[in-house]
Symmetry: C2
Subunit: 280 residues, 2 copies
């Protein structure tokens, strides 16, 4: 497995592979890899000849007071897992390689980035969209793989790639969950055993909403209320949002009449967790 | 010569040429072609196997009350000139092809876009950077060619391409001038004979600054004053800016101590004209 730190190395390697007729898959990550990331590597390997994984904790998507400094960094273990999983090239650039002195251009994201994470984390998606665009253009992959767990992020990336005509196909892969349903996240490492137990309520509440919907409850304020109760029973009361939207959009709906996504964000202790699930 | 209206057509044509090992040059234009544009086509043909020229009057770079509606459109004549000059493919998309319904992502340009045109035409470079990025990613050329006449635009494009890691080399080509020195511009067509005569003062004033500098006058406020006088003598009193900056930047200097660009914008009647020249 190649470990590249510079853009030039990645481009040279991809150029050679491309010249040999190989299709390139790309999985952008912030490291601290878990089974969710590895499922993206699997998806890439199933569809492409060579898989590039970037490991870069992007400072521009963290706000002041957020967890940039304490974001988990496990590069050696990440590389071991990636090598085992058949990754071809790990791209691990420095901050200066991505944002050299004099850097000043950003992506101005639109309405899809406004609610939820965009409202709770000002500038977050501006940073995400900027680094994703840069990484996509650095790597020049045929396909890039993102997880459904970050539902709004997947919409932001799709909008970015469509609007800017980025010549990479975006593939969104299913959320990978722990045995008890908790969505895999690098931030789960921050949870103590009590919090980890509480965090089961996220998936439980999303499943509850699906069941209620299947048994006839279509009113979204009622469904959101039941989700909130379910979270509260587990001791989770700091809820950033519970949203029910038309699938593939951030447009809130009053009634479940077609494919619908329930998205939520909560705080468990100091740790912010998100999850989502399609119902209806 | 191929005339393509859709992104898919351009991509398919470029993909075939690229697969045959050919290098692709790209000249983005807003049509109303003149010898300046054609010199960019020549530069592209000298360096690349196939030259793509886009003709698209980009609405997002015009402000309210600007000349979007009356911007000259001469598509048939443009195509004749391009065919004669050896252009391989003309890309002439509709507004809807470039900005489909739901479009909402823009480039947020930085300090390089703030003064001069950026200050006089709010949002102008946001629109320019957005459409240039989109066109570069649609066409996927090896090299793209821009004129030095739009000095600040060339800086914005260079910054955009560097910051976003766009895999296209940017080539800036010298300004082409009429016999009397007036920089070629599609907007020159708006000038009546009297205004056309007055407009000679732009180049005359830039040459004056160069001469003064060569004979020892290095103080930029004095040089700017002499330019202003020279313009006023020709009856040009509506001056948006006269700037003397370190070449390759928008950083104003007090004294000419190295390569220096003089950039100016004026109004002659209703028509806004810009020009620039490197001195020092």
């Amino acid at each position: 497995m190649i470990i590249a730190n510079s853009i030039a190395e990645v481009r040279a390697a991809v150029h050679s592979a491309r010249a040999a007729g190989e299709a390139i898959g790309f999985v952008p990550t912030m490291g601290a890899l878990h089974a969710g990331h590895l499922s993206l590597v699997d998806a890439s390997r199933a569809r492409c000849d060579r898989t590039v994984v970037s490991v870069f904790v992007n400072p521009t998507q963290f706000g002041p007071g957020e967890d940039l400094d304490r974001y988990p960094r496990t590069f050696r273990a990440d590389c071991e897992q990636l090598a085992e999983r058949g990754c071809w090239l790990v791209f691990a650039p420095s901050n200066e390689e991505i944002y050299p002195p004099g850097y000043e251009t950003f992506v101005e994201v639109g309405s899809v980035a406004e609610p939820w994470e965009g409202a709770c984390r000002p500038g977050h998606y501006r940073g995400v969209a900027t680094v994703v665009l840069k990484l996509l253009l650095m790597v020049g992959a045929d396909q890039a793989f993102f997880g459904q767990k970050d539902y709004q992020q997947s919409l932001v990336v799709r909008q970015l790639v469509a609007d800017f005509n980025v010549p990479t196909e975006i593939v969104i892969c299913p959320t990978v969950r722990e045995a008890d349903g908790l969505a895999m996240s690098s931030r789960n490492a921050f949870l103590n055993p009590t919090q980890r137990h509480q965090a089961r309520a996220l998936w439980k509440s999303l499943q509850l909403a699906e069941e209620l919907c299947q048994t006839g409850e279509r009113r979204t304020p009622i469904l959101a209320g039941r989700i909130r109760e379910c979270l509260a029973e587990a001791g989770i009361t700091e809820v950033d949002y519970i949203a029910l939207v038309k699938a593939g959009t951030v447009i809130a709906i009053d009634e479940v009449v077609g494919p619908t996504v329930v998205a939520l964000a909560v705080r468990v202790g100091q740790t912010r967790l998100i999850d989502n699930h399609q119902i209806g």
